[in-house]
């Protein structure tokens, strides 16, 4: 019997209690059905479909590694991979720095709940709403940001229609939506750093920059590592913003991997090939997660 619960152990002369197996099975039944039907089963069938030719009209036909061979020879796939990685680098790079700045500023300046609520506000609207609002703000002719650019003496920029700008634009729109949330996660981590450490360093004459480099950054490292793993995994799955704004264009400049998967499945009806692309994304995400976990020793905290 597995009675590995904590507080029963503290009462040693306990009676032998009855086993709850029947009740437990009843209680986990709905969640288990959901898990098996919509997480475990799709995981298995998804891998199976990637080895088939499947147009959803006829049953899947086993084709072995053909989809994977086609994938490795597909320039659009390699391009989508390149575009996705570029997106992740800009998105995560800017977002992490901005969120860290906001978090440290909040730690130093105020505990105000109102301020934290305002910072979180963009996270409450959907990606779709964020995308449409910035489609308007960054519109080439009428967008207020381009009017501002002209006012300070620059030429207007076709943020959504230029092959150079489109990925940075999408990345920054998503920074806008997520920076507050990321900042609050980091802020929570900063709250755990004991204030006396700063006090002690300050009496030794350390300045703000030294405090940040010698105390904040090292002690925040484990939280920062976890936040990075979470945000990078999320970032690789970018789709909503691009689906609403550019549909992958101009040319293939914003055709990220998820967009390519979606278009293969729902425009070309190539479910087998789309599944193989999904497997590629899954493998990338697993490699990223484990590499990062291993590199940063995310589980360890310098405070322990």
């Amino acid at each position: 019997m597995t009675t590995a619960t904590t507080s029963t152990r503290s009462a040693p002369p306990r009676r032998r209690k009855k086993d709850d197996t029947k009740l437990a099975l009843l209680f986990i039944a709905p969640a288990t059905v959901g898990l098996l039907a919509f997480l475990v089963w799709p995981l298995l069938t998804g891998i199976y479909y990637s080895f088939t030719e499947y147009t959803t009209l006829t049953p899947p036909q086993w084709v072995g590694f053909e989809n994977y061979q086609a994938m490795f020879a597909d320039p659009v796939f390699w391009n989508s991979l390149k575009v996705t990685v570029l997106y992740v680098l800009i998105n995560i790079g800017v977002q992490t720095v901005v969120a860290l700045v906001i978090a440290v500023l909040m730690q130093r300046l105020t505990q105000s709940t109102l301020l934290r609520s305002l910072v979180l506000a963009p996270y409450l609207v959907s990606n779709v709403v964020a995308a449409i609002v910035f489609l308007w703000i960054l519109d080439t002719q009428l967008g207020i940001f381009n009017i501002f650019l002209q006012w300070i003496g620059f030429d207007p920029i076709a943020f959504w229609a230029s092959e150079t700008w489109v990925i940075p634009t999408v990345a920054l729109v998503n920074v806008w939506r997520h920076m507050g949330y990321t900042a609050l996660l980091l802020f929570a981590g900063l709250q755990a750093i004991p204030g006396h450490l700063y006090e002690a360093a300050r009496t030794e004459g350390a300045g703000e920059i030294t405090l940040f480099r010698r105390i904040t950054l090292p002690l925040l490292r484990p939280i920062l590592a976890l936040v990075l793993i979470m945000t990078i995994i999320g970032s690789f799955q970018v789709f909503d913003t691009i689906s609403v704004t550019t549909q992958g264009g101009p040319a293939d400049a914003s055709r990220v991997l998820q967009m390519y998967i979606y278009q293969n499945a729902f425009a070309e009806y190539q479910f087998g090939y789309a599944s193989a692309l999904s497997v590629a994304l899954l493998v990338i995400l697993m490699v990223v997660t484990f590499t990062q976990y291993w590199l940063t020793n995310a589980g360890k905290s310098d405070l322990d």
Partner: protein, 322 residues
């Protein structure tokens, strides 16, 4: 991996001793001259706040502007040609001629229907999922049964599967069940299960004092009764926080709904917004109408947030992994 990298609520985190010491230090610092560092820090903070808030203001300003005036005076910081035409088009209160004259596409958009669909999906998913996950969390926290830890690890492991991977196979499953273009089809994959919710609630159930439960059991109450009359009421705060987060996720979800819904009968707001945006009339997009629509789509979340801001803001943290 037993320490899942997910934000986990801890109830209202007061500014503890650490916060107090930071506040004290500012007092000592303020004594020596003009605090340029602090002024600069506030300036940077204010810039970030402006970047955060401005798009919300811009939505409102554009929604209240007339579409034709927007084209001639795009730089005004106040609404131009103030009117409510954008909102009227969204809710189908304008006839086709007026709509086209004001720069709308004239196509009928059944916004009430989409709003209703979104409310139905988000509400059903929130109630059923929270309840189903609370039951499972109770079984993992308080019931004694063989294989409990192993099964829990399997649930936890499913957190590692990215959503994209389950979308295509789930679509095929929903299609085979004949549920494409139905609200049930949209809800089903997340209706009963969120491994995060189970993980999150189990933490709280673990912290409910066992003595309370033992006392009720000695009085002859069954475990089912204990769950409904003791555990659930005692965990109402984390349950409410979780329900809010679930509602928000369901409300803002786009990719899956886009796959499943094709017609008005199952179209939710996020998907409808995408369609509305693609229906640009020849004269250029109906920005006033679009901004009115995004405001309507975002409003319920912003109102919920305004009501529960403190709870949500304080719930963001990493207590689960400490």
């Amino acid at each position: 991996m037993t320490t899942a990298p997910h934000p986990v609520t801890d109830e209202v985190r007061e500014p503890g001793p650490a916060g107090q010491q930071i506040a004290d230090r500012h007092v000592t610092r303020a004594k020596r001259g003009i605090p340029w560092g602090r002024i600069l820090a506030w300036a940077v903070m204010v810039i970030f706040l402006l970047i955060t808030i401005f798009p919300f203001y811009w939505m409102l300003r554009t929604a209240l502007s007339s579409n034709n005036a927007l084209a001639t005076d795009p730089g005004s910081l106040l609404p131009v040609g103030l009117n409510t035409g954008g909102f009227e088009r969204v809710f189908g209160m304008q006839d086709v001629e007026t709509a086209i004259a004001q720069g709308g596409s004239g196509a009928s958009i059944n916004f009430w229907r989409y709003l209703l669909n979104s409310v139905a999906v988000a509400t059903t998913v929130t109630i059923v999922q929270t309840f189903s996950c609370a039951m499972a969390a109770y079984a993992f926290s308080r019931l004694r049964w063989r294989g409990r830890e192993t099964v829990f690890l399997i649930f936890l492991g499913s957190l590692m599967v990215p959503q994209i991977f389950t979308l295509l196979p789930n679509f095929i499953l929903i299609k085979n069940l004949g549920l494409v273009d139905t609200l049930l089809g949209i809800m089903l994959p997340t209706l009963f299960i969120s491994s995060f919710a189970i993980f999150f609630l189990r933490q709280f159930f673990n912290n409910v004092p066992r003595e309370v439960e033992e006392a009720a059991l000695i009085d002859g109450a069954s475990k089912v009764r204990v769950f409904f009359t003791l555990i659930l009421p005692m965990s109402s705060a984390p349950l409410a926080t979780l329900a809010l987060l679930t509602y928000m996720t369901a409300w803002n979800e786009y990719f899956w709904s886009l796959m499943v819904s094709y017609t008005d009968q199952s179209r939710v707001l996020t998907v409808a917004l995408g369609v509305f945006r693609a229906q640009a009339p020849g004269t250029g997009p109906d920005w006033s109408g679009l901004m009115a629509a995004t405001l309507v789509a975002a409003a319920p979340m912003l109102i919920l947030f305004a009501l529960f801001a403190k709870k949500i803001v304080n719930s963001i943290g990493f207590s689960g992994i400490k």
